[in-house]
């Protein structure tokens, strides 16, 4: 197991918890719950990708394109690519489009997308972590 796997996995859990805290305590700011969900997915992806021998990218780089390229080289993750991408787009629009109206449907969508990503990647990472 790559030494950084546990660090990124821990950050994934932290951001997931943050998303839940935002939703439960900041009812009018749930748009940022979707942002926290996206960054939770980012760190979950990082925790998996740093273990891939055929992939080289800097997980600390804020450039999402390199991660996306690494993602493309993992056929076992093909089924979640659209979900991850949609979650990324939604998170981007929340952060950069000042007149975007975030509603309960968007939050439900973000949760669904995140859950689908998580259900595919988290077991793989846990398996890697438990094997070492």
């Amino acid at each position: 197991m790559n030494a950084r796997t546990a660090i990124y996995f821990s950050r994934y859990l932290h951001n997931l918890g943050l998303s839940k805290r935002i939703e439960s305590t900041l009812a009018t700011d749930t748009d940022w719950a979707s942002v926290a969900l996206f960054y939770s997915a980012v760190h979950l992806m990082n925790s998996y990708l740093v273990n891939k021998a055929n992939i080289s990218f800097d997980p600390n780089d804020s450039n999402h394109q390199a991660r996306w390229q690494a993602f493309k080289n993992c056929p076992e993750l093909n089924s979640m690519r659209e979900k991850y991408r949609e979650l990324k787009d939604l998170s981007e629009q929340v952060r950069y489009d000042a007149s975007f109206v975030f509603n309960a449907t968007h939050l439900a969508l973000a949760k669904t997308l995140f859950t689908k990503c998580e259900s595919l990647v988290a077991p793989k990472v846990k398996k890697i972590m438990s094997a070492t």
């Binding site: 999402h64 394109q65 996306w68 690519r81 659209e82 991408r85 949609e86 787009d89 939604l90 981007e92 629009q93 950069y96 489009d97 007149s99 975007f100 109206v101 968007h106 969508l109």
Partner: protein
């Protein structure tokens, strides 16, 4: 006698010239009408790839292509169609227009030369699989370019309000 003579002249003039004037008037109107119809028909038939051939937009296109040239060292052209006049913009128009939910496409580029493509939709929905398939084809058309694709929901706003201010239109339905 004099009055009869005048009436005859007026009658002759009326018979000779009125039909000509009327014919001229109606044929001009018919011509204008048909011209308007022809123009409308040609606009309707205009494929997306021709819809933005205004001077200002051509200038914008040059600016983007120059940015791409800075990164790649050469002008970017489509490789899969075998058409040397195809640019990445034409590829974007041809490919992304196939996704019916995409109402507009805008692009800008960053200092690394990455071309950011913004597909504007009314709202998030079940189109990602189809959209990403077309985006993949754009990347195959123009392997020299680093693309970063984005989706923006316009939510009943004009599409330009959902994308960065400096983004240039590629097509708008």
């Amino acid at each position: 006698m004099y009055n009869q003579w005048v009436r005859s002249i007026v009658f002759v003039v009326f018979c000779n010239f009125l039909p000509k004037v009327l014919r001229k008037h109606y044929s001009a109107e018919a011509l204008m009408t048909s011209s308007r119809h022809a123009k409308a028909a040609s606009v309707a038939k205009t494929p997306p790839s021709r819809a933005f051939a205004k001077k200002s937009q051509l200038a914008d296109r040059v600016e983007i292509e120059v940015a791409a040239k800075k990164m790649t060292g050469k002008l970017v052209q489509s490789s899969s169609e075998g058409n040397s006049t195809n640019t990445f913009e034409e590829s974007l128009r041809d490919r992304l227009a196939k996704v019916t939910e995409v109402e507009a496409v805008y692009v800008n580029s960053d200092e690394q030369g990455t071309v950011h493509v913004y597909s504007v939709v009314q709202e998030y929905g079940q189109f990602y699989k189809r959209l990403m398939r077309q985006e993949q084809r754009v990347e195959q058309d123009c392997p020299e370019i680093a693309f970063d694709f984005h989706v923006r929901a316009r939510q009943n706003r004009p599409s330009y309000l959902a994308v960065p201010f400096d983004a240039k239109p590629i097509f708008i339905r």
